[in-house]
Amino acid sequence: MKITIRGVRGSIPTSGPATEKYGGNTSCTDVSAEGWQLVLDAGSGMRNSNTGDRPLNNRIDILLTHLHFDHIQGLGFFNPLFDPTMEVHIWGPASSRQSLHSRLSRYLSPPLFPVHIRDLPCKLTLHEIEKSEFDIGPFHIQTRYVIHPGPTVGFRILHAKKVFTYIPDHEPALGLHGIVADKKWVSGIDLANEADILLHDAQYSKEQYQQRIGWGHSSMDDAVYFASMAGVKKLLLAHHDPGHTDEMLETFAANVANPNGVVFELAAEGMEIDL
């Protein structure tokens, strides 16, 4: 599978030279194989998604980890949604109260957006997911709820014996003593188990996290520890704080405690990985 990072910024898009290297667009990652295309999250980076070959069967699948605005704001600017020849499937976490359609409609309707979701010209199908397992073309996908405010899932994507795990918003350390040493008690660990690549929340430095416990995000140190527990082969630190410049990100990353030698790097917009 080919993985293309379209946006790695958390919370709100940033622009300007200070965030140029790692990028200012919010969460979005393309995954493609055998003519099939998945789009993970619909942040502002989504505007640069689907600019290549037309996908097989004119079908695109958008997988949303959750519905915070930085993960859906690109939907209104995603061309396939306005193309009547396209078949678009949106997969998003189930809520105990409102349907996915109802929750997405809160954004895709006036006054926040001029077009109602019901008026989108594409052939649109919505799928509610929770602890789910399903296939999309050649991809086998597992989802689990993970710790983050509101219904939020992570994705484990298997293709040709390679695993890409995507958990951009996640706070596994929430609690009195941080991440519990016993893997049975760690949110998201099954999704990440021995993944070839894990893209994971790393919004804060270790020091900043102490002031933001419960906000739903991880420190870089916790992300590395989580990856170490899960035995992942490579970790991409993502969901960069909008207040962090490229220089700050590199300083924080250079100071991460990494006793187990986890291979990691800062995720950057435009990054392409063949897995």
Binding site: S96, Y145, I147, L176, K184, W185, S187, G188, D190
Partner: protein, 130 residues
């Protein structure tokens, strides 16, 4: 396989509380108890790990005011496990020193977002002054 996050978050909450908390899976196996609960059980979680229902349920000797033993299906946690509903009851138990103590137990089911029953939680309240 890891527990669902609803169960994990209950454990993390229990870790922060000063009252005894017991967490079971759907079958009543004890999957976690916090430090205050260790004093009641007389065991440490780090030593025992999880305990099967048959083992930990025999540690308590629940009884009524007159010292008559209470059947399991009258205990809040057992009722929660059977009916997936919250219960509360005040009764007596014999502590580790053989003394009789008055306690109250509040139990509630862990129902996940999809209304899936994932386990139960029991909180023990010291009721000796009531």
């Amino acid at each position: 396989m890891a527990y669902e996050i609803e169960v994990i978050l209950n454990r993390q909450l229990a870790d922060c509380l000063s009252i005894p908390v017991f967490i079971t899976d759907r079958k009543g196996n004890l999957i976690y108890y916090n430090e205050p609960a260790e004093l009641i059980l007389g065991k440490r979680y780090d030593d025992t790990g999880e305990m099967p229902a048959t083992e930990w349920s025999t540690i308590f000797k629940p009884m009524d005011e007159e010292g008559n033993g209470l059947p399991p299906d009258e205990l809040p946690l057992v009722k929660t496990l059977m009916n997936c509903k919250p219960y509360h009851k005040t009764f007596f138990i014999e502590n580790l020193n053989g003394n009789i103590e008055k306690i109250s137990v509040t139990s509630y089911p862990i129902l996940g977002r999809a209304s899936t029953f994932l386990g139960a939680v029991a909180l023990f309240w010291d009721s000796k002054d009531e």
